[in-house]
């Protein structure tokens, strides 16, 4: 195995593009090293992107949004108070992944590229309307996060393409987001269902809403009908019922020891309601 430490993303992509065998990018390594050890993947070329300065940076964008480099760890995100204040739901999704030790290494972009439908970091990104920058042999492009997952363990990235980081839009006024997941214990588990909601309000009335479900379909799924169900409402009981119904209707889960189809479908609706209420309270300036 060749170990590479490029200093620019262009070089990283070029190494991957000309590699003949199996290639892996290494950021936090919390998925890649487990795959290495279990011989699931035996890369011929391992490309460590942590020597690329931009990969390790959290910066503000010109319009008041955020840029999170592909190798920024979960711990670095939770330690950034301004980022947590803007996007608490997005950050709490990332923060739910693994232990303190895993948080010291695991990255948001890694969570996205691992392609798990149960990825806790991803629903919040999609709800927030984030994009990622992809660099590859054909140059660079900006892609909506929801277009990256392509099925369990799969992404839409082509050979030689690498994600350089995530762009989070400006929070703007009267917005709030939240992420909830169901697990049978209190910590250190994989989501049976996850749900992120991102709202904007005018007074008490919802003017923008994005609802995203995890672990109930082959990919993390944006559910436009669920967002529409609460537009123009103040999250009164009937609106929340419609939201829960739309969320449950969008589920195509697997049946396994972690949760039955029926259970996951029901819980998706329950979490959507609860996450919407938290996002609403946060949009009103609460710290729920």
């Amino acid at each position: 195995m060749n170990y590479h430490t490029p200093e620019t993303f262009e070089d990283a992509a070029a190494i991957a593009a000309r590699a003949a065998g199996t290639t892996r990018f290494l950021a936090g390594g919390t998925d890649v090293l487990v795959q290495l050890r279990s011989d699931l993947v035996t890369p011929d070329d391992l490309i460590d992107i942590k020597h690329i300065p931009a990969a390790k940076a959290i910066t503000r964008t010109g319009d008041g949004g955020w840029r999170i480099g592909a190798a920024v760890s979960g711990a670095e995100m939770t330690e950034n108070a301004a980022l947590c204040a803007d996007w608490p739901g997005l950050v709490e999704g990332m923060d739910l992944i693994g232990s303190t030790q895993v948080q010291g290494r695991a990255t948001l972009v890694g969570n996205l590229c691992n392609g798990s439908p149960a990825a806790d970091g991803v629903p919040g990104l999609i709800a927030a309307g984030c994009t990622v920058t992809v660099i590859g042999p054909k140059g660079s492009r900006e892609v909506a996060v929801e277009e990256i997952p392509a099925g369990p363990g799969k992404t839409s990235l082509a050979k030689g393409e690498v994600i350089t980081g995530v762009t989070i839009p400006a929070r703007g006024q009267h917005g709030g987001d939240a992420y909830l997941r169901f697990i049978p214990r209190t910590e250190m588990d994989i989501a049976v269902v996850g749900c992120a909601v991102n709202l904007r309000l005018d007074g008490d009335t919802v003017t923008e809403a994005r609802v995203v479900l995890g672990a109930v379909a082959p990919t993390v799924r944006l559910v436009p009908e669920a967002g529409e169900a609460i537009l123009g409402t103040t999250l009164e009981a009937a609106a929340l019922d419609r939201l829960a119904e739309a969320a449950s209707a969008a589920c195509q889960p697997i049946d396994d020891k972690r949760g039955t189809i029926e259970f996951r479908t029901h819980v998706a609706g329950v979490l959507a309601r609860r996450a919407a209420k938290i996002a609403h309270a946060r949009a009103k300036g609460g710290t729920a």
Partner: protein, 160 residues
């Protein structure tokens, strides 16, 4: 056979170097090339925390880090906790509270607890439990560990 790579790093304040295959984990490099046997392998997949070390002050599982990634970094392990013959307060309190039985989890828990107290000298019990949630212990039932950490924190606050 892949070409071995020369890695220069710092272990508990001492400059060290070693040669390793790029596939070797930092845990294997510590144990096999640097003779630092404190970090243990429980699972090798990031689940148990027995291999916990710090890398530039950040708590990580050394089984989820490659040895080559340690180039130019500072590694902290349990071997760096005691000052000569005098134990770190956490080590003393673990003995006082009988917070270990077989001891496999102990080096990892000590490193993790030390890292917590450096960041938060006055953690609540809940904070201690969440911080150590990635350190599994199959012997003690955790209670004595948590009490030892709380007690050490109190002593360290009073001493400072």
């Amino acid at each position: 056979m892949t070409k071995r790579i020369h890695v220069s790093t710092e272990l508990n304040g001492d400059a060290v170097d070693f040669l390793c295959d790029p596939r070797e984990t930092l845990l294997d490099c510590l144990r096999d090339h640097l003779g630092a046997m404190g970090a243990k392998e429980g699972c090798g997949t990031g689940d148990c925390g027995a291999c916990s070390v710090t890398l530039d002050g950040r708590l990580v599982c050394s089984c989820l880090v490659l040895g080559v990634e340690a180039e130019g970094k500072q590694i902290g392990t349990v071997e760096g906790m005691a000052d000569g013959e005098s134990l770190h307060p956490l080590q003393r309190k673990f003995i006082e509270h009988a917070a270990l039985q077989c001891g496999i989890c102990t080096p990892g828990i000590l490193v993790a607890a030390k890292n917590l107290l450096e960041r938060n000298p006055d953690p609540s019990e809940t904070e201690v439990r969440y911080w150590l949630a990635g350190n599994l212990c199959r012997c003690t039932g955790y209670d004595k560990i948590v009490r030892a950490v709380m007690d050490a924190a109190t002593e360290m606050r009073e001493a400072s």
